[in-house]
């Protein structure tokens, strides 16, 4: 992890793109504005954080902006990790996809499945993603189950004996 000082230096390099930084339990986090995510990741890649270890979503319900996307970057030569976080409101959950190559920045092909998972579970729409479909839930599923206001349970389990009433009731 870059220490707190190094994190502030990175913040200065990135300027207005960074909204906040936090250094908690040896974990350095940059909170950036959603519009600048490609530029921030591109800058960090040049600095050596060239491997995207993980990309995942978080729901900060009831705080706004509610939905978060986290990018865990890894610098393999210095064995150093930094995480980049952005937050989007739940009524307009849109952010640029980092999967494809763009004019200024190279893509992160590893983000493909993981962005699909965040879309599936949280409903964050990744603009420009090559194949933004649900990945874990069935394609005709409604709702985004990993959101905090999505209830657990309550869905009837289909067996042979109750198959027809459930399916007919759904129509």
């Amino acid at each position: 992890m870059p220490d707190a000082t190094a994190l502030e230096l990175i913040r200065q390099e990135l300027g207005d793109a960074v909204l906040d930084t936090s250094f908690f339990r040896e974990r350095a986090t940059l909170e950036v504005s959603p519009q600048s995510i490609r530029a921030v990741l591109g800058h960090l890649r040049v600095k050596g954080y060239a491997h995207m270890a993980s990309l995942h979503g978080v729901d900060y319900y009831p705080h706004e902006p509610r939905l978060g996307v986290l990018y865990e970057l890894l610098n393999m030569s210095r064995v150093d990790r930094i995480s980049v976080k952005l937050r989007v409101p739940s009524d307009a959950p849109e952010v640029d996809s980092v999967t494809p190559d763009s004019a200024e920045h190279g893509g992160w092909p590893t983000a493909n499945f993981q962005e699909r998972e965040v879309f599936d579970m949280f409903g964050v729409v990744f603009r420009g993603h090559p194949d933004l479909r649900r990945i874990l839930m069935p394609e005709d599923y409604e709702g985004h189950p990993q959101r905090r206001d999505f209830p657990i349970g309550g869905e009837p389990v289909i067996f042979t004996y109750n198959e027809s009433p459930i399916l007919e009731g759904a129509e």
Binding site: H51, S54, V58, E72, L136, M137, P145
Partner: protein, 423 residues
């Protein structure tokens, strides 16, 4: 008989058969119809023994050559990450273990490590050593299942029985130390559930002594087996740079020559105490993937041996009563122990608010667990970065342009665990 010009239509056609490559023949004979360019889409799975689980592949073929693969996953999605948000921290461990069902100790350590980071729990050294011993046994067990089923895919059925013979011994060891053969719930926040029973270390020592010769036996069966070599050598190679851009880690990356292993690069638990090597391949073909995992089992045995020799005395779980249950006998005499016990069992431990990502080296690559705490006794978010899920993205790139039979071998060498992919 003197050679006469062919009379019948059949004889004329027979003479036209040449030994030129199949592709050329197809182009010559069907040039006007363009059939050599015709693509066939084949549905493969989800219920197929060679998919190692319920993986469905939409394979586009040009003749017998793989043109493109689209993996379709989610058939065993059970919403474990969602379930975890509704359970107190220590009750999450059993469900987390069931994600990647061949790496249960790794799953629980990734999760527990993240929680321990947030709660700043200090783990006793004996517990760390016991964890490492169990994880490395788990790694061997996982690789044995991989080896047995992969050999089965290549047509070698006897390997399966030999691998499961040794795997049973590991499961017996788990049963003796933890009470369960799989999904043991042995690792706890702050240490392990209980100390190993009398006689366990002797039994493990016997296993450590036997295992290298068993591994040599597997090597004797496979390493110079012409069929295995022809199926694996030079097939479906992918270079380290492409693998990294696709996020692939673990034995697949090491097979391509990049010695990235979190046990060495960023030692967690007590891996810094042990002397072991990181096996790497050269070209990253299926044979390297096979050889790297075979060598890894040898290294795991070495780690277990060293951990067993250096196993320190002391407590097996933290004495912090806010984190771990007090010993049973204290409940009868100490009011405080009773209160702590009651609070932990009814409410569970409270973890300071914050976020943590704890990566470890699982049998298939970087297994990271992200935990967000909001200060209550239940996690606000648990996410497992499962290596199988990320590594599956490289499958299409590996198998493009190879024969469909090599695709099966590549899938075996990829070693995806669908429980981990779908979570």
């Amino acid at each position: 008989m003197s050679a006469s010009p062919p009379t019948s239509e059949y004889r004329r056609r027979e003479q036209s058969i040449t030994l030129s490559p199949l592709g050329e023949q197809l182009e010559q004979s069907h040039d006007e119809q363009q059939t050599s360019q015709e693509l066939l889409t084949l549905n493969f799975g989800p219920h197929h023994p060679a998919t190692h689980g319920v993986l469905r592949l939409l394979v586009t073929l040009r003749g017998e050559i793989v043109h493109d693969i689209k993996p379709i996953v989610g058939y065993v999605h059970t919403g474990i990450e969602k379930t975890a948000e509704d359970k107190s921290y220590w009750k999450v461990i059993p469900v987390i273990e069931r994600m990647d069902y061949l790496a249960y100790h790794f799953n629980s350590l990734a999760y527990i490590g993240a929680v321990e980071t947030l709660a700043e729990v200090v783990v006793p050294t004996r517990a760390e050593y016991l964890r490492v011993i169990h994880m490395e046994l788990n790694r061997i067990m996982s690789h044995l299942v991989w080896l047995g089923t992969s050999a089965l895919d290549l047509g070698a059925i006897s390997m399966f029985w030999y691998c499961f013979r040794e795997r049973e011994q590991i499961n017996d060891l788990f049963e003796m130390s933890t009470g369960q053969r799989m999904h043991t719930r042995y690792f706890q926040i702050g240490g392990v559930a209980e100390d190993v029973p009398v006689g366990w270390t002797e039994k493990l020592r016997g296993f450590v002594k036997r295992m290298p010769s068993s591994l040599d036996q597997y090597g004797d069966l496979l390493n110079s087996n012409e069929i295995v070599l022809q199926r694996l050598r030079g097939t479906c190679a992918l270079d380290a740079e492409t693998l990294l851009s696709l996020g692939v880690t673990g034995p697949l990356l090491r097979a391509a020559g990049n010695p990235w292993d979190l046990r060495k690069a960023a030692p967690y638990s007590c891996y810094g105490d042990f002397d072991f090597k990181i096996p790497v391949g050269t070209v990253g073909d299926n044979y390297d993937r096979f050889a790297v995992r075979m060598a890894e089992m040898h290294e795991s045995v070495k780690i277990i041996d060293q951990a067993l020799e250096g196993l320190p005395e002391g407590p097996y779980i933290t004495t912090d009563r806010k984190v771990a249950l007090p010993p049973r006998h204290e409940l009868a005499t100490s009011m405080e122990a009773l209160i702590h016990h009651f609070k932990l069992v009814t409410e569970g431990l409270r973890v300071p608010p914050g976020e943590a990502y704890y990566p470890i080296e699982g049998p298939r690559g970087e297994l990271g667990c992200f935990v967000r705490s909001d200060g209550s006794s239940k996690p606000a978010r648990v996410h497992m970065r499962d290596p199988s899920f990320v590594n599956l993205q490289a499958f299409s790139r590996m198998a493009e342009g190879s024969y469909i039979a090599d695709m099966i071998a590549t899938l075996a060498m990829l070693d995806p665990i669908l429980g981990g992919i779908d979570r």
